[in-house]
């Protein structure tokens, strides 16, 4: 009864956390961007690739530069004109060969963020000698695909997207070998200590543990196994670090009316120690106190009455 009443209460009062909407854009501006991008996608889209028959187009080379229009439109850059990054030499077709490498890099637009991230990255395991130069933002974040977690409909999707970024190298001998000569660590063996591996990997991101623990908030400083978070209670507690990491954009939406702490996490996962119900805990505390108090009182009365009987019999 208590169980179903609690669940019913939660069901009635806790709504699924809404996805954060992107900033609105004027329809005419959006149309202009879409029209401009449509010209690029005439060649650079998987849908149009097979039927494409243009002189001076090397289809083999083009195959490596295809974009899925629907994925691009959903991405963070979905409302950005292709030509905003692919600048000089890309307006003409075929593109001007000598200008092809001239792409506007991320820091052109993300200047302030870039400075902060660069400092974090310099401390990262990815900034070790020999591999640092092989890393750019797009090594992990494909600008045609990447979506910021706040725009994804659920933390689970953020987990899937972000972990795929890590796994594209860490789960591929071929890609890993392109970055370093070191042996690729066996992920399953390395994470053997972590209980219910598949569940953890579907519910939290690699970076939840593989970023510096004391800083709490997420960083681009990726840390190795030695420095990674191994304290279960970092997440499995009322003051769960998940609040400032995976769920940071949803915490504001949180409702605590039904007594569940970290109820924002509860929409996605039951996390022992982090998603408990305070009302239930308090009620049980009172019941336990009454039972222990009752037993103590009864014991005391038994002792007193026993002493009284003994004195009377003497």
């Amino acid at each position: 009864m208590v169980v179903w009443a609690t669940i019913g209460l939660v069901f009635l009062t806790t709504a699924a956390v809404a996805q954060i909407e992107r900033k609105p854009i004027a329809p005419e501006d959006l149309q202009k961007i879409q029209d401009s991008n449509a010209k690029c996608l005439e060649c650079h889209s998987e849908a149009s690739f097979d039927a494409l028959d243009r002189p001076n187009v090397d289809k083999e080379k083009l195959r490596a530069h295809l974009v899925d229009p629907s994925v691009y439109e959903d991405s963070n850059h979905g409302r950005v004109e292709c030509l905003a990054c692919h600048v000089k030499g890309f307006k003409e077709t075929p593109h001007v060969e000598k200008d092809k490498q001239q792409i506007n890099w991320c820091d052109e637009c993300h200047t302030r963020k870039f400075l902060r991230i660069e400092m974090q990255f310099d401390e990262s395991v990815h900034a070790k000698d020999g591999i640092k130069d092989k890393f750019t933002c797009s090594t992990c974040h494909d600008p045609h695909v990447f979506q910021h977690e706040m725009y994804l409909s659920s933390p689970r999707k953020a987990v899937q997207q972000d972990n795929t970024m890590c796994l594209q190298c860490h789960d591929s001998e071929e890609r890993f070998a392109l970055m370093t000569k070191e042996a690729r660590p066996d992920l399953a063996a390395k994470h053997e200590w972590l209980p219910n591996n598949p569940l953890h990997w579907a519910a939290v991101r690699c970076v939840e543990c593989h970023t510096p623990a004391p800083k709490k908030v997420l960083s681009h400083e990726i840390v190795n196994a030695e420095k990674a978070e191994k304290n279960c209670v970092a997440c499995h507690s009322a003051d769960s670090t998940l609040r400032v990491r995976l769920y940071r954009h949803l915490v504001k939406e949180e409702r605590n009316e039904v007594g569940f702490i970290n109820s924002v996490i509860l929409n996605e996962a039951y996390v022992i120690g982090a998603t408990r119900n305070l009302y239930l805990d308090k009620a049980f505390g009172i019941v336990a106190a009454l039972v222990i108090g009752g037993i103590s009182l009864h014991s005391l009365l038994r002792i007193i009455s026993g002493l009284w009987r003994r004195r009377r019999n003497d």
């Binding site: 569940l199 209670v233 014991s299």
Partner: protein, 214 residues
């Protein structure tokens, strides 16, 4: 004069004490896993998890053995109250706990090899062993294999109802344990119940008291 009768066979006593030990381990580790925040945690989270898993599996196996033993030995009938005497039996027990014990009265029902439990014990043990324990074990197994739990329920993680049910039942059984230990002191003497659960023999001192058993 003291009458002795052999009430508790070896298997029952062994099961009882191993079960008791596992229950204590499960309560301590379960509380440590649920309340992870205290400044001084009872048991460290990862250790508590191992203790809870191992004890949980052990108590589940032991429970199945209990079900078999209890049925095969015929001990199961001890758990079934006589419905005709239900109300009067409960009244007797309540009167003893509320009043009789303070007057030095003997327990209204003394265990015999034929009828080991009073009505209150029969009802409580029946609920504990045949309702609460199976529910606790089923929800525990679901917790042990969380990937088998429904992904979503009522728009939330499917583990939630399982987790809440496991917690509620676990708490109720903890309260039972407290009451059970205390009721153990309410036999003919404060220690006779515990001695019986160790030796198997019940010693009836009732005739030495000034009270007539009803």
């Amino acid at each position: 004069m003291t009458e002795r009768s052999y009430i508790m066979p070896v298997w029952l006593r062994l099961w009882h004490w191993v079960n008791a030990l596992l229950m204590v381990l499960l309560i301590l580790s379960g509380a440590s896993l649920h309340f992870t925040d205290p400044v001084v945690p009872l048991i460290r989270f990862d250790v508590a998890r191992t203790v809870h898993n191992v004890s949980g599996i052990a108590i589940s196996v032991l429970y199945i053995a209990f079900l078999i033993w209890n049925s095969a030995s015929g001990n199961l009938r001890q758990y079934l109250p006589n419905l005709k005497d239900l109300v009067s039996g409960l009244n007797e027990q309540n009167a003893y706990v509320a009043l009789g014990i303070f007057k030095g009265a003997p327990p209204p029902v003394s265990p015999t090899p034929e009828v080991k439990f009073n009505v209150l014990q029969q009802i409580t043990y029946l609920l504990v062993m045949y309702v609460a324990m199976p529910l606790l074990i089923i929800t525990g197994i679901a917790f042990f294999f969380p990937e088998l739990a429904p992904a979503q329920l009522f728009g939330m993680d499917g583990l939630l109802p399982i987790a809440v049910a496991h917690y509620v039942i676990g708490f109720l059984l903890t309260m039972f344990l407290l009451g059970h230990i205390y009721m153990g002191t309410m036999g003919t003497t404060a220690t006779s119940g515990f001695r019986m659960m160790i030796t198997g023999w019940h010693e009836d001192h009732a005739k030495e008291t000034e009270f007539e058993r009803p």
